[in-house]
Structures are given as C-alpha cells and as structure tokens.
C-alpha cells in the first residue's frame, strides 16, 4: 500500500483519501458501514471555542446534483471535544484532523490552543470559509488581508501541520492561497461550499431558515476542479482537493489537477462507504496504467 502514501507538511497519509469536515461526524457515525482504518484521514466536524446551537430548521435543500446546507457549525465547543470526544476517537488507526472554525481571530486562537497538545491530532484545518455563520466564517476567507491575518495568528500558536481551508466564493482563489502560503500555511484545502439559495415557488419562501446556505455535491465539481488547478499553478505547498467527489474517477481528476490528497464530503451521505471504494478504485487505476506511485499523478495533467 506504499504506492498510495502522500505527505502533507509533517503529516504522512497512508493514502490520499480523506473525509470532509461536517460530512463525516467524528467517524463513529460511519464505523458500521466501513473500516475507518482504510482512510488516509478523517476531518472531524467544524469545532469552535464556544458551543454553538447552529441555525434553525430547515437547514437543508436538495438541488440538481447537490444540496444546500446551513448547519451553522453546530458543535459542543472545543473543550467538550477535548474532554469527551477525543478520548473515544483517538485510537482510530487513521489521522484525525480537527476543522477549526470561529467568528473572531481570538476564537481561532483559543480553539487551536486547546488542540495543540493533543497527541493524536497531528494537524488542524483552519476553516476560514464557512458561509453559514453570521460573523467571521467566510468573511475571513474572501480577502487576502483577513485570510493572512488569521493564518498568521494561528501559525504563532500552532507548530504542527496547518491546513487552511479556502472559500470558493472569491474572484481569485489563487491570490488567497498565495497569501496564506506566505503566512506559513503548510497546505491549503479547497473548496468549501458555494454560497447558494433555494426558494419554494409555491410558498414563496426561502427553503432554508437562513435564506442562503452552502452548496455542495457533484454539481460544484467542475468549478472546484478549476480552482484546484489554478491554485496548483500558483503555490508551492500541497493541496487537498475536494468538491463533489463521488467516485475514484473524480478523485483521480482532482489529483491530476494538482491535489496531493482529496476529501469526500456530501457523497458520504449517499454512499457511506464511498471513500473506501475510492481507495480501491485508485489502486486499480494505478495498476491499469502501470503507475508506481500516486505521487507520479499529482498535477500530471497533460496539455
């Protein structure tokens, strides 16, 4: 299985297939359906310094080949995570990465500080791109200046692998990637959800309690793939690509576009074992194409 190994900062992944934050709970939700140890890593739920109730129901609307959500970072706070959840999941035979979210720079710092000491959390993913919270969230990820600020502040208190998750709701995502790279991010992950909206024509009301929400699923794949390719052509740090991945072919496409690793998000809901099927599919692809190692594919788009 060494053929699938990839390295992201100090983080060695047994394979490039991971699961996306907010779509995979804490892993436990999926353990009946699959063998978690076959994953390269698990990005657990968006975690904030203080507990959050999230947004009101309804939080979901189905769309063509995708869905909108406005969960709004519901979670019990980082301290509950450390005391109650971490002990239950730290023995997983895969990497656990916490998605750190917040509304202010202080939130991000506080949350990160609570996590830095945890042995079995080798990396965090800084979520500066959540479209579903009133303050902060996506705003940080839509300007180079504010993105750089958060990363700079968190980098100071975090010496393990720092992944920064970018928002696709921007004119030039490569510019933002360059800004966070300059502040010492070890990796960028992209994309988070696209800000979208759904309306019930008969009731003349928005379908989400928050009016707008985040779009995910296969519908966004072409845009996400383009963004990965643009960022790949701009930065030197590794990229974790995601956005609509639902099978091994999609995963290969993201790797060819320049991703070191990928995350599967929404499609876990449709097929809870899709991520391990993707691991198998990638191996099979390497065999069929006589490729030694997955690293020989990263960014190897022929044009």
């Amino acid at each position: 299985m060494d053929r699938l190994k990839v390295k992201i900062g100090d983080l060695e992944l047994k394979n490039p297939v991971m699961t996306a934050s907010g779509t995979f709970g804490y892993g436990t939700e999926y353990s009946d359906f699959m063998d978690l140890s076959r994953l390269g890593g698990i990005f657990v739920k968006g975690t904030t310094l203080e507990p959050r109730q999230g947004n009101d129901y309804p939080r979901m609307a189905e769309t063509p080949s995708g869905m909108l959500n406005s969960v709004g970072l519901q979670n019990k706070g980082v301290h509950y995570f450390v005391s109650d959840i971490y002990p239950k999941i730290k023995e997983y035979d895969t990497h656990i990465i916490v998605n750190v979210s917040g509304s202010t720079i202080e939130d991000y710092i506080g949350c990160t500080e609570a996590l830095v000491g945890l042995d079995k959390i080798p990396a965090i993913e800084l979520n500066i791109s959540c479209p579903n919270v009133k303050e902060g969230g996506m705003a940080f990820g839509t300007s180079c200046v504010s993105a750089a600020q958060v990363v700079k502040a968190v980098r100071k208190v975090y010496d393990k692998t720092l992944i920064v998750k970018l928002s696709p709701n921007v004119t030039d995502i490569a510019e933002i990637a360059l800004a966070v790279e300059a502040e010492g991010a070890d990796c960028v992950s992209l994309v988070n959800t696209f800000l979208g909206m759904a309306i019930d024509a008969e009731k003349r009301k928005p379908k989400l309690s928050t009016i707008t929400g985040g779009l995910s699923g296969p519908c966004i794949k072409p845009i996400a793939l383009r963004m990965v390719w643009q960022v790949y052509n701009a930065v030197k740090i590794p990229i974790i690509g995601m956005g609509g991945i639902s099978n091994w072919k999609d995963a290969i496409e993201f790797i060819l576009a320049g991703s070191h690793a990928i995350q599967v998000g929404t499609y876990n809901f449709i097929n809870p074992s899709v991520s391990v099927e993707i691991v198998d599919g990638i191996l099979n692809y390497l065999d069929r194409h006589n490729i030694d190692s997955i690293s020989d594919l990263i960014g190897k788009l022929d044009y």
Binding site: G54, P58, R59, F269
Partner: protein
Amino acid sequence: MKQQLDFIITSNKKLNKQTFLIKVTPKNAEPLPEMLPGQFVQVLVHDSSSIFLRRPLSINYYDKENNEIWLLIQNVGGGTNKITELKVGENLNLLFPLGNTFSMPDKNQTTLLIGGGVGTAPLLFLGKNLSDKGYTPEFLLGGRSALDISQLNDFEKLGLVYITTEDGSMGQKGLVTHHPALKEKQYDKIYTCGPKPMMIAIARYAADNNIDCEASLENHMPCGFGACLCCIENIKERGNICVCTEGPIFNTKELQWID
C-alpha cells in the same frame, strides 16, 4: 448494527391512487438483522437528475419467515414516485436499520396506536411487536376517505381497530382526534404517526389527559445516521438534536409542540 445492502423487490402493490406496499428481500439472501418498530431505512434513488439524496421510509413490517422488509409508501413527489415505479425483480439499495424505537409500555398498560394516512406505516410493525409481547394494542386509523385506510386486515389480526374518515366513507366521520374511543376509554400509552397537525392535536389530548405519548417525526434527512446535522429538532432542555439518531420517536413531552 447499521448496514448498506442491496435488496430485490419481491412485490409492489398499489393500495390506492397514491399508496404502495413494496416488499423487499436481501439480494444475496443475507439474513436480516434485528430490527425494531419505529426504525427506518434510507432508500437510494438510482441515477436521477432531480433526486440526489436518499429518502427515509419507516419499516412497515418485518416478515421474519420470508426474510422481507415491507415499506408502505405514499407517492408525494419525485423520490417516492421513482421508488413506487420500480418493478418486481428490480434492485433497491438501503441503509438500515436506522433510528431509535418506541418504548415498551409497562406491564398491563393499555395502548392506542393512532395513525393518519400513510402514518400508519410504523404502527403495523409496532402493533405486531406489542401483540407478540403479550399486550393487546388497539388501533385508531384515520384518513380522508376509505381509500386512505391501508392494511386493515393486517391491523385487525393484531387488535381492535377504530376508523375515522373525513368524508365518512368508512368508520366514524371526522378526524381521529374526535373519535369517541378517545373520550370513552382511558389508555395508558399512545403511539402516533401521521401528518404533523394530527400528531400535535394528539399530543395535546395526551398532555391534557396525562397520557404518555410517543410520536414519530418526519424531518428532512439527508444522511439518516447522524452525520450531517440537518434533521434537527429543537427539544426541550437539550436544544437541537438529530431526529435520525435520537429519534425519529420522541415522547411528545419533549417536543416544543404544545406550549
């Protein structure tokens, strides 16, 4: 333990214009695991441009002998339409069994199971379970007309059945909440599933009469197993919790329905 499994449709019967009874058995004849009344399955709608997410359906009945699950389905939109159009022999991919279950009554408690329309779906399985355990469940089934009363024979095998229809075409004319049984008899426990306004009216009746009452909720469920946090209900004291894992069955006391 939850699992994802391919089933084969062994029977698909149209019970009325909108309601279908579909029976499925595991494709490779795997024995079905333990399932509990109130639990549900998540059905994959294969390769559709408009239906992206699975659709939740209650386990209507678990037929041990034939290793079959029954699904009672009302065709209300794109997803249920696709599912009910499937033919005998076709595949159905399910995640199951999902969710919690109804709580069992105390010994000697009397129970009434109140279902509206296709909301009777989980009550057949619950009634069978209660009856197997020595209880004598009674049923109160309601619908707009006689056509909405499904599986009457099956229910009658399990206990006394009262019926109301809005147009009076079967049983008492009116809504389930107006059925005389609710006035004349005193039940210890009520289980209900159906349209939300009906369940709220029953929750109110139960509260007024100090009867323990459990209801099955139908929030939208993208995943069905606690991963997406989209199916939440704001529960007294506990805040937003997932209906798919902590429910779909709730004691109506906990819900913010009646105060």
